[in-house]
Assembly symmetry: C2
Homo-oligomer: 449 residues x 2
């Protein structure tokens, strides 16, 4: 018997705000961070790694919440846990005192995501399979048993979920073979951060085209004049056959979103991403009607499956951008994929950040193999930052993710990374040259204790 | 000049789970708790007190989040802060790194509520007025300036908000005089907690009737058979002229809610409260259509004004139960009251917990005086627990809240209460007899550090 013997949660922060990587109309000084969970066992060769993603201050809250949420796992038999990954998810989620702080949203839910990501990583490592393969080897009934269908039965019944998975089951291996050959298509956001100069934008767009990308995304929403100029530069470089996406990161009210996007319609964007509050189902539906044929995309701040259910029911979105570290790991994400299939909405997961690309590659592959069975209108985000910190980093070639092959969920960071970027004790943060807006503020916060 | 010199946030927990006070179908072992904020100034006679409410574990997360959120207030001029209570709210809320952890929901937003509740308490004390009077003395323009209308303009414009307040302005003093005489009507939940025996239920219903209450609320949702028996007992005691409300605390899926409530329709409940996930706008709308003429009520877990906007737009609720410690204090609550008026939905605030009654009495009075100008279908929750810990406790007589008269937001607790119930250092929690499910678990959590 192998037993879970401990949980450690690390506050890992990278000083990305220094270079304006990740800057947009809402988030001007993001320091990409992770509340990083390590589940250890009494087998020295077996651990589980997982995390949630934040942009700096407050990462400490997620760390402490994840530590508390993971405690019930200590002392438990690994086989019992991974033998019923639905039961452990429900057990951790049912804690009514924590639930009060959401329910199923905010810090508490980010923490559940971090812990369950580590549990799924542990399960895949134990099975000796990459996560996507662990899932693709499960029967429709097994998959639906681990999915969180609570509050969804008015949109998707258990029987419908099983039927969706059964339809795709006979041809799973054909699609795996196809992905082994061609990879899963992705797009890049690295070119278009709002803090970049026009020259840098032009150069990065050209580099993206040269690297084989057919989709480019720009941040918009701070200044209409700037947005028009930047969209024009992007179209000059990428031409009109490539797809241009725009992303406002929630800065607009609904009427303002409609007006602004109509001013950018001349650049024929494929989608407007996060035009308004991520909670506003009816607002997204109104925007979608008004800006057609421009699509509406949202989901990186989609707090839980109940929100996605409503986005589907209200026909509010053209693209579902679920987040692998905000939803309650595979259990809740599975439910969103199944609803997306029923409502015929393509899922193009949010990535970037720290390690989100590493996670979503598994999810996109699984979706194609076992749920959606199509690549039509599907393209997964890729941002070329911080992959060097991961033991099993994602690999992108010719605008496509290569299939991950190592056991697990690709979530493990190097020990040296943790030592360097642990906040505030890590060697980077203790060094004299260290600086970032988050850093300075957070040291003040620490000093006040 | 008076300066804010410090912030202290205390983790205060009461062992309510021992007596099953507060037990319902979702929350079986609530230990009522508060993340309690004290803003001190260099004037020894002036402080601001505020809190958010939780039910036990995780209160520490709210405490730490509130501490960090309040830090930008230190060193600031009190007159500057209270001279523009919209600016300080927007400044604290705009922190983009914290925002990522919501946005505007969960721990981060509960913490904002706690801090801004203390700021509003400080403002009312400085003015020498109870909070309701501070608000009632503001002009329509001043009120709209402090209200958070971001993301609402598709439902309520600034001009509409001002017009609503102008309509009620000339007759404000008449309604204040009426409330001074009769109080603001309330109902009691103290009778109907799920953990109480039939005999205790019968006795408490009788006591409520004897005390002048015309509304009684029961918890339902764990067992249909039990619910039918308990509703029958309640009707036997209170008769058919009094109003009976039922509350399921989110336990059902949408189809299940409809079926269950139809089984209880024979008892003619005024409303079914929290039939399903608090995030499910479209689900509440579907339930409302199906169970008419039984009303649908929700809001104690309503995470922010964008959710309430949609509940109004979708005609999903008959009663709006906003929470004074979950929404972003008066700034966000004002916006919800204004929308409720426009959409003609009565607001019956959630109370109970720790100190929520103390807060909501001010809000209900202000709503009647300056916004809704009617008492029709309005009744504010009252639960007779824990008031003894407050320096200026609410007073209920003949089923109505008496108007608070002391300066502030009635949020201050006795110093002795803090010393006794601070977790885990307080004298109660260090005593040998101390016990509660939260206590035992939280000590384990602490021991693992």
């Amino acid at each position: 018997m192998t037993t879970i013997t401990g949980v450690a949660v690390h506050d890992v922060r990278f000083p990305t705000s220094v270079s304006a990587d990740g800057s947009d109309a809402m988030n001007k000084d993001a320091d990409y961070s992770a509340a990083y969970v390590v589940l250890s066992t009494d087998d020295p060769s077996l651990s589980g790694f997982g995390f949630t993603f934040t942009i700096g201050r407050g990462n400490d809250l997620c760390v402490e919440a994840a530590r508390q949420r993971a405690l019930p796992l200590i002392g438990r038999d690994v086989e019992e846990i991974i033998g019923d990954l639905g039961a452990v998810y429900r057990e951790l989620g049912a804690d009514s005192q924590f639930r009060w702080l959401g329910p199923e949203k905010g810090v508490i839910h980010l923490a559940l995501a971090a812990v369950m990501n580590a549990v799924w990583d542990l399960a895949a490592r134990r099975a000796g399979k990459p996560l996507w393969r662990l899932l693709a080897d499960m029967t429709p009934e097994q998959l639906v048993d681990v999915a969180d269908l609570k509050y969804l039965s008015d949109a998707l019944t258990r029987e419908e979920a099983i039927a969706i998975l059964r339809d795709a089951e006979p041809t799973r291996e054909d699609r795996i073979a196809e992905l082994e050959r061609a990879g899963y298509p992705c797009y890049t956001t690295s070119a278009g951060w709002l803090g970049y100069s026009d020259d840098k934008l032009r150069r990065l767009c050209q580099e993206a085209v040269d690297a084989g990308y057919k989709h480019i995304k720009l941040k918009v929403g701070a200044s209409l004049e700037d947005d028009i100029r930047r969209c024009r530069i992007a179209r000059e470089v990428i031409g009109w056959d490539a797809k241009l996406m725009i992303d406002a990161n929630q800065v607009w009210d609904v009427p303002e979103a409609i007006e602004w996007v109509q001013q950018l319609a001349q650049f024929q964007p494929l989608w407007i991403e996060e035009p308004t509050s991520p909670d506003d189902v009816l607002g997204h539906a109104a925007i979608r009607k008004a800006v057609h044929p421009i699509g509406v995309a949202t989901g990186e701040h989609g707090m839980n499956r109940v929100l996605f259910k409503q986005l589907f029911q209200a026909e509010a979105i053209d693209f579902c951008q679920l987040d692998s570290a905000r939803l309650g790991s595979v259990n809740e994400i599975l439910a969103v994929y199944l609803m997306a299939k029923k409502f015929d909405v393509p899922v193009c997961p949010h990535a970037g950040g720290v390690g989100l690309c590493e996670l979503v590659q598994h999810l996109s592959v699984f979706d194609y193999v076992a749920v959606s069975a199509t690549l039509e209108n599907r393209v997964t985000e890729f941002v070329d930052h911080l992959h060097e910190h991961f033991v099993d980093p994602c690999i992108v070639e010719d605008g496509a993710y290569r299939l991950p092959s190592a056991p697990g969920y690709s979530a493990e960071m190097y020990a040296e990374t943790i030592e360097t970027f642990r906040f505030p004790e890590g060697t980077y943060w203790q060094s004299e040259g260290a600086s970032s807006p988050a850093h300075e503020y957070a040291l003040v916060v620490g000093g006040e204790r």
